[in-house]
């Protein structure tokens, strides 16, 4: 029983380090620290220019939405890199529990996303002078973590698409864009067309952002527990879809011998 757990932690951490040794401060800081701040500022100022929502609305929305960036890219890169370095075939043919394997790889991604989201939120509130009660911080951290989990679930699906399509950057960017437009990040859900609202209800971020906004406005964790649970559930569903897709692609690739192709 301990073997899958070991695979989960050790495998995940090792693979993350191996694949991310290129992350230097020169890449980390602009991508994960500078960019989210400016996304927050951009939309906060648009909001101000047309007298729309409060600064807090945009800080919460964009900080959480930006967690999807590392989740989407990292997952896709990891799988893509595995194929490129031809370890994917070895990986998929190893007896280690597949679930433990891929969940293990998700752990660093989730943490990465959560940290980015938390940083964006704190920086945004400081720069725009948004006041959030101290008691809300712990529940907010939880919501950010849950949102990162659900985004990583979507990231698994994205990674699977990336394996098939061979250029994961496109799908990562496109998914990021859809999340930006649809999940109530900058536009309240009721102002979006009906069909967009419907789609957004099954996407990550939507419930997490709503929960976070309510928490920032003074609600308690109990009040938003339903939203948080839904967010988590959505993440799990996407993760399952992602794993199934990977399994399917693996079978297909074995048939067509495309698993190792560059």
């Amino acid at each position: 029983m301990t073997y899958p757990v070991r695979v989960f932690f050790v495998g995940g951490l090792l693979s993350y380090r191996a694949l991310f040794t290129w992350l230097t401060p020169w890449i980390l800081i602009p991508t994960f620290l500078v960019a989210p701040i400016f996304q927050i500022l951009l939309f906060a100022y648009i909001g101000r220019s047309a007298n729309l929502q409060s600064d807090e609305f945009y800080v919460v929305g964009n900080a959480l939405q930006y967690t999807s960036l590392p989740c989407l890219f990292a997952m896709a890169n990891m799988l893509g890199d595995e194929r490129w370095s031809q370890t994917l075939g070895i990986l998929l043919s190893s007896p280690a529990s597949r679930l433990a394997l891929f969940l293990g790889r998700s752990l660093p991604v989730i943490l990465n996303g959560a940290l980015v989201g938390a940083f964006g939120f704190v920086a945004g509130t400081l720069i725009l002078d948004v006041h959030v009660m101290a008691s809300a911080f712990a529940p907010l951290a939880l919501v950010i973590l849950v949102t990162a989990v659900s985004c990583t679930g979507l990231g698994l699906v994205n990674g699977a698409i990336g394996l098939r399509v061979r250029e994961s950057a496109v799908s990562s960017n496109i998914l990021f864009g859809f999340l930006l437009v649809m999940c109530g990040v900058n536009v309240p859900l009721d102002e979006l067309p009906g069909w967009m609202e419907a789609i957004s209800s099954v996407l990550p971020l939507t419930h997490g952002i709503e929960a976070a906004r309510e928490l920032a406005d003074g609600a308690s964790l109990g009040d938003v527990s339903g939203l948080v649970a839904t967010e988590l559930g959505i993440g799990v569903v996407w993760a399952v879809i992602g794993c199934s897709l990977l399994r399917f692609l693996e079978v297909e690739a074995r048939r067509r011998a495309t698993l190792e192709s560059s």
Binding site: I27, P30, T31, L41, L42, G47, L52, V170, G177, V181
Partner: protein, 256 residues
Amino acid sequence: MRTARLLLLGWLLQLKVMMRSAFNGVLSVVWPMFFATTAFFMYRAGRDEATLVYASLGASVMGIWSATSTSASSVLQRERRHGTLELLAAAPANFAYILIPISVAMSTIGLYSMIATLLWGRFVFGIELHLVHPLLFVLAVPVTIASVGALGFLLSVACVRYRSAWALGNALEYPVWLICGFLVPLALLPNWVGPISWVLAPTFGVRAIREAALGGTPVADLLACAGLGVAYFGAGILLADHVLRLARKSAALQLS
């Protein structure tokens, strides 16, 4: 004369290379449209027609900057991967004159995005555009493209030496959108942002395009935009040899 040939041929051929890379093209059009769409939704809620037109014009230029800032660095990485960066550096021609056409070609690709965004705004959000100074509008577009290309050229000069400069290029995407007044009037930003925006050519490019469409004094802005572009070219040309030397010292021209 030879320089002119080099610049022109370089621009044409690099444009050919970029246009034939389908995925790049799709992304360079689609990416800014996500942001434009969000902005349109936001402004539509504000129910101000003029603001929507304002936003539409600004949003259309977003793609030109995105195409430049994000590609400036990745194109050089691609040249590195293809092994052609070394060949460019080993050529006797002035390295700056080799890089300039690459970045201007990148900005030219942004034209796709500009057209797509304007059409999107028109047909999906009903944003109608009536040009007050059509000729100046048509002139403002290439001038903006060239001067944004010049800014991209400065960026790529940095990328020659620093292999991770691509991340910086990506991170500059949002700030320029904000600081150069693409979607938000500069008056709303803190005072100290003003001087920064005045040294960035896109500020005047966007203004020129807006005023050519909506009325105003586009010529002054056009001249400012062009002037800044020339200044960027000059600075880059002076720096290029120096940066190339640094790259030769630190073996940054090769992939590993």
